[in-house]
Amino acid sequence: MNSEEKNLKLKLLTVSPSPHIRGNNSTAKIMLTVIIALVPAVFAGCLIFGYRALTVILITIISCLVFERLFDLITRRPNTIGDFSAFLTGLLLGMNLPSSVPYYIPVIGAFVAIVIVKCLFGGIGQNFANPAIAARIILAVCFAGQMGNFAVPVKSFTTFDAVTAPTPLSAEYFTVGTDKVLPFTLTDMLYGTTGGTIGETCAIALIIGGVILIIAKIITPTIPLSFIGTVFILTFLYTGSIDETIYYTLAGGLMLGAFFMATDYTTSPLTERGKLIFGIGCGLITFVIRFFTKMPEGVSFSILLMNLLTPLIDDIMLTHPIGMKKIKRVKE
């Protein structure tokens, strides 16, 4: 480059449309905040289920990152693992698995979540269903035995007990005299010392995480409140017992699903009114599956079904812009 060319190059101005400044928000920051909000539940899961829980979560995270990087390389796309979305999917998937699964199941789950559900549909923001939910369901269908085999809470972090434990939703009621007694106490339910997947049992940690998400303005309370609220109200109407209602509200994947899975941006409606319908729909389906089908738990299926309805909800539920006039229908 001679000096004249250099001068010319220096003088060239940048022309771009407004705005000329940008905020410092980024996809990676949003994903990291969600990951931080999940830390209490991950910590609780590892304490309750021991080292094997941590191993399963690490396997899902690492496999998700590897699969996404490989997909980017093979399809010659820009490297997208820096947005932490694959990391988050891996973390959520791990939390949705029992700690007792054989180690190849998390790898298969990661493949389903990242490659089949997310990347083949265009990557982040384009998937039709929540990758972790879809993977959990596919694993539950394909490996019904291993996936339904929940470990008991361990005595210390380094131990692992292969004995199968009942989950709050699969356990039988005790009968004392003529009274029905719930299989787990309220303390068990809050602390999560019950059978279940790694991340779903500790209700307190999940609620703390949900509050972090709401305070950090990552999510609005609409979906969690309408989802949990619908399950709560319907369960109360059906059982007529407040103790049982609280038990069922804290049981299963409801807290994890309502705060972290149903609120996934890509697969939930855009507007608040749409989110309300989505949350109520999830609650309704969860209630129906829990009480009227042979399956003990319905949170994942309810979220998956509502994921599929999201484009339709979005089409109907538009915002009401300030100053909008109704479009007159022209008679043909």
């Binding site: 101005l13 407004s18 996809t27 923001g125 941006y265 538009l318 915002t319 100053g323």
Partner: protein, 429 residues
């Protein structure tokens, strides 16, 4: 009343305390004919003519148009073709100032006795909206009081764009002109109420205006929160009166008229002196400015290159007319100061915000929450890509005012405003 969306922006208003200084006479003046919305004036002078300060050098008979005056005395050296940063082609008059600043004949206070003569005087002054939109002011003033009676005059002193402090200086330095201008408008246009709206980041201006208007019942000072885009016409009307300007309608349909604070101050000054619009108060700032940041009174037509040299910002990589949210990037420093210019911002490499690749939309909804009008920018994007004009209409794209909030907050760096502009172009076709 629910407050509209919008975003918190860093203010960067370090020039707020710098008093307005005269910029001086440049060596060359370039005055394009395309300075206001509406019909383009024709040059009234030719090469070799001598012009004087305040002499009309461009005009047309069309109503929707504002005449153009010479800010200096000197010789017309050329009439050239000019392309403004928006791509509009026009004639431009080049004047070599003689430094004498001889006033033109007939620069005397205009005779104003009723609405008609008031509007005529405003038209002759060449005044266009000084906030940035460059709408000929006399057109706004000649509303039909039978069809759309106006009961409130809103003085827009929000100045919500970062960096710019010219309106703040107008409040502090021309407070008397502002109240006089408001009283003139109220008297001749028959508008009973007036609200002076100022963002709360200008406490000095608020205090001064409150003091100035404490004995005037018809004028109220309204403090608005500093939230961009507070100064957008629809937003300031809603936040100060609670009224909504409906799709395709004008503020007069909602019974209000919005004038920028500098516009109203100019009206009073013109009524006193008869000197047409030939200078402009602008803020010079930005990361590439090494010296002389501040507010200056510059002649309209002053080349930007003179301003860059003065500010030590010749190495700037991006130069803006106006603020960073809605300002226009210049393709050449040979462009001049226009009537509507309220700031020249020069940015260096780091702040020019290019080269950030957009990633996929994650449907987080930040753009909708940021949108002051509650539109759905992410849906505009998909509808535009599939050229779905029905969907664009259903999503009320024409309401979008390109304020830039959606692009600012987008975590995926998507060029939402750009897409909205392209989509509006598609709808026009």
């Amino acid at each position: 009343m629910k407050s509209l969306g919008g975003i918190k922006l860093p203010h960067y208003k370090s020039t707020a305390t710098s008093e307005t200084v005269e910029f001086g006479i440049p060596e060359k003046i370039l005055i394009p004919m395309s300075q206001a919305m509406g019909a383009m004036p024709e040059p009234l002078v030719k090469k070799g003519d001598n012009v004087t300060v305040g002499q009309k050098i461009g005009s047309t008979d069309a109503f929707m148009s504002a005449p153009i005056h010479s800010p200096v005395s000197g010789e017309v050296t050329d009439i050239v073709d000019y392309i403004n940063p928006n791509g509009v082609r026009a004639k431009a008059v080049v004047i070599k100032p003689d430094g004498l600043q001889t006033k033109a004949d007939g620069i005397t206070p205009p005779e104003i006795s009723d609405k008609q003569s008031f509007i005529y005087a405003v038209r002759e002054s060449g005044l266009t909206g000084l906030g940035g939109a460059a709408f000929p002011t006399h057109v706004k003033l000649s509303f039909d009081e039978l069809k759309t009676p106006i009961d409130t005059l809103i003085i827009n002193g929000a100045e919500c764009e970062p960096y710019i402090t010219a309106d703040n200086r107008c409040f502090l330095e021309d407070a008397t002109d502002i109240t006089d201008g408001i009283l003139l408008c109220q008297k001749y246009l028959g508008i009973p109420h007036c609200k002076i709206c100022i963002e709360d980041n200008k406490p000095e201006a608020i205090a001064l205006m409150k003091k100035k208007t404490e004995n005037i019942n018809a004028i109220e000072v309204v403090t608005l929160p500093s939230k961009y885009p507070q100064g957008a016409e629809k937003v300031i009307i809603y936040h100060s009166t609670g009224r909504v300007v409906m799709e395709g309608e004008l503020p007069s349909n909602a019974g209000v008229m919005v004038l920028n604070v500098s516009t109203v101050a100019f009206i009073a000054n013109y009524a006193k002196t008869g000197m047409p619009l030939t200078t402009k108060r602008i803020t010079i700032d930005g990361s590439a400015v090494k010296q002389n940041r501040g507010n200056y009174n510059v002649f309209i037509g002053t080349p930007i290159s003179d301003i860059l040299k003065f500010a030590g910002a010749e190495a700037a990589k991006k130069i803006l007319y106006g603020g960073p949210m809605m300002g226009t990037a210049l393709f050449s420093p040979d462009q001049p100061i226009l009537k509507s210019t309220n700031a020249i911002l020069a940015f260096d490499e780091e702040e020019q915000q290019i080269g950030i690749e957009p990633s996929n939309c994650i449907r987080c909804g930040s753009c909708t929450r940021a949108c002051p009008l509650n539109l759905m920018p992410m849906r505009f994007e998909t509808a535009y890509k599939t050229e779905d004009t029905e969907a664009l209409k259903k999503l009320r794209l024409p309401l979008c005012m390109s304020c830039g909030c959606c692009s600012y907050v987008c975590p995926a760096n998507r060029p939402l405003v750009e897409t909205n502009l392209l989509a509006k172009e598609l709808l026009r076709k």
